[in-house]
């Protein structure tokens, strides 16, 4: 079972994509994109984890967990949050212009 956290990460990515395809509401779509991205947090953090190791601060007793993947996860979270905000702003504009947030009803081009 020592590979389980990695598979949780892969599962989060796929279930997020599944949600995007299944989505009938753009807000739901945005949340699914965020879930797919959260798979990368789990993958990064579980790669750097070590049993019994402490937080990556100098002076911590014993070994520390990998600080590089934690820095990457921090970057990842910031990017995810800002992209989510941008997508939600797009959803607001779509809702105003087309009176719907169902992606299936947005298939016609407008000039």
């Amino acid at each position: 079972m020592s590979l389980l956290p990695y598979f949780v990460a892969g599962w989060l990515l796929l279930i997020g994509c599944f949600g995007v395809v299944r989505s009938r509401d753009l807000i739901h779509t945005v949340v699914c994109v965020a879930i797919a991205q959260s798979g990368t947090y789990v993958l990064l953090l579980s790669t750097g984890f070590q049993y019994g190791a402490s937080a990556p601060v100098q002076g911590a007793p014993g070994p520390v967990v990998d600080p590089v993947v934690q820095a990457l996860t921090l970057t990842d979270i910031v990017v995810s949050a800002t992209v989510t905000a941008l997508l939600l702003a797009l959803v607001i504009q779509i809702a105003k212009r087309t009176d719907t947030v169902d992606p299936d009803k947005l298939d016609e081009l407008r000039g």
Binding site: G10, C17, F18, V57, D66, T82, I92
Partner: protein
């Protein structure tokens, strides 16, 4: 594309990606093991830079260029969202007279937590190089503190103490400060974002050279970015009305 065609494409893609993920993960070193090549390189590199928080040392010293990229993504999406959330030609900002009612308990808790949250936010930003935390985390805490005024008080009150243009200017200035610190490093040592300031004593507030200043710049940028974003969303929900 019809729904059924979309599902066929999805299952083909997901099946392929899923198979590749499984194949790749089966070769991974076991979870929680002792093999961490990045750690073996980054922890010794952080020693001697007077930044006990190694994550901050990676983010703002060893790989500060990546953080500049991250910050640019933040700036870009805040600008994009702010542009998308502007009131359009036939919309005006109108404040409702009726502001609803806030429970007394919510008010009390909100006003009690407001100064505490501000101080915690400032603490997390300024001690980012010493303890877990930093500009990104502290910036979000600070922006939350500002919005406690909306939760405990009212939207009008929030608008009065939150002049949006100030935060827009602060956002740009903080983003620019990061680049300027990088350029100063380039001029003085020949390396962009080099750690130019004296490292100081390990554990002091003003130690770790540029890490501290970059943390403060990022903290200011994240605070203003989140405030600008939320002000756009709140205005759309509460005050932007269509006029005919």
């Amino acid at each position: 594309m019809t729904r059924s065609a979309r599902w066929i494409v999805f299952w083909l893609g997901a099946g392929g990606v899923g198979a590749l993920i499984v194949l790749a993960l089966l070769k991974m070193p076991s979870f929680g093991g002792i093999v961490h090549p990045y750690r073996e390189l980054s922890v010794p590199a952080a020693i001697g830079r007077s930044a006990p928080n190694i994550v901050s040392s990676v983010n703002f010293d060893q790989r500060a260029l990546d953080t500049l990229g991250e910050e640019t993504i933040l700036l870009g999406s805040v600008v994009g969202a702010a542009a998308l959330l502007r009131p359009s030609k036939d919309e005006r900002e109108q404040l409702d007279q009726d502001e609803g009612r806030v429970l007394e308990a919510t008010k009390l808790l909100g006003y009690l937590m407001l100064p505490v949250t501000l101080i915690v936010g400032l603490d997390v930003v300024t001690h980012g190089h010493l303890t877990p935390g930093g500009g990104f985390q502290g910036g979000v805490v600070l922006a939350t503190a500002v919005h406690l005024l909306y939760v405990a008080g009212s939207y009008r009150m929030l608008r009065r103490v939150r002049p949006k243009t100030w935060y827009q200017v602060a956002e740009a200035v903080a983003g620019g400060a990061f680049v300027i610190l990088g350029l100063v490093g380039l001029l003085l040592t020949g390396a962009f974002l080099a750690n130019i300031f004296p490292r100081g004593v390990l554990g002091d507030l003003f130690s770790s050279g540029t890490v501290f200043y970059l943390n403060v710049a990022v903290g200011a940028e994240v605070t203003s970015g989140v405030v600008v974003l939320l002000s756009g969303f709140l205005a759309q929900a509460l005050s932007v009305r269509e006029v005919r």
